[in-house]
Symmetry: C2
Subunit: 172 residues, 2 copies
């Protein structure tokens, strides 16, 4: 077969633009990661990077910037709660992605396992023990081993795509 | 606030079941990673773990088992192609997830940048240089720096959720 990248349109020739154009076309599930600072303050953020790594033992990964407000807590804590969001959790997804001083203002959470902030009314959550923190430039890949979890009422999944929250549609 | 995990239903109390129940409720975008073995044979797999790590420099991650057929190539190669799939790519998503001897039988690919296998007719693809391989038990987290990419015709995103391929629906 001859080289035929023309079938895919032209090469972009700019690494940041190639990255942004491609990831804009990737849909992602939406989760919230929470932890406590050394002083016990609740912290957390909305993530679109949560991914399964293995089922046995159960392992997952998420990515973050090491300049993020939540990073000092993630750097020090042993455990996090990971919440899988449903379509009904749109407001809390937005709140946990906005001003970090106001993310835990309200009754959308309560202390859960190990006192970690447990977001209310999510379809599923997991207790994760951090088993790896891999710095990459100003960012980090976090690996967690799942130790327990719980289920809430089921819901349509929540997706993030083209900078908008969506629910799943028809089969592809 | 009092501890009130009852709001979320009971704790599952089994780490593997907690993991599986939660990830079943997480929707994921679908991508295909391709590479060449040392002998030049095309290899690749359908992934639901592709995630953005940073925009500057542009970095992404994906996860895989180190017992996977593609692992020896990923362990040795410097570069991979990462393809973002659309709803029209359902057949190739299934083919690249099935019998590894038959994944490149057919005209659904051609040699692309650096001779790497370029899957035809995808909405977007990226050329990634591997900058990190982090082993975790029998698995690995792979970090790539995006060096270039290209766009095809746009499409609805392809999602994987509840063991089925979906397209995005209405806003959440």
């Amino acid at each position: 077969m001859a080289h035929d990248s023309a079938q895919q349109g032209s090469t972009i020739g700019d690494e940041e633009l190639a990255f942004k154009s491609a990831f804009r076309r990737l849909a992602a599930g939406v989760s919230i990661i929470t932890a406590r600072t050394g002083e016990g303050r609740p912290v957390g953020f909305t993530a679109t990077s949560l991914a399964s790594l293995a089922a046995t033992p159960p392992l997952a990964t998420f990515n973050m910037a090491r300049v993020a407000s939540t990073w000092p807590a993630i750097e020090q804590t042993d455990h996090v709660l990971i919440h899988i969001l449903g379509a009904r959790n749109r407001a809390v997804a937005a709140q946990l992605a906005a001003d970090h001083d106001k993310r835990f203002e309200g009754d959308h959470w309560a202390p859960g396992p190990m006192g970690l902030p447990l977001i209310s009314d999510v379809p599923a959550w997991m207790l994760g023990r951090i088993v790896g923190r891999y710095p990459v430039f100003d960012n980090a890949v976090i690996v967690v081993q799942i130790e327990d979890g719980g289920l809430g009422e089921s819901d349509e999944a929540m997706l993030y795509h083209e900078r908008t929250f969506f629910r799943p549609g028809s089969p592809a």
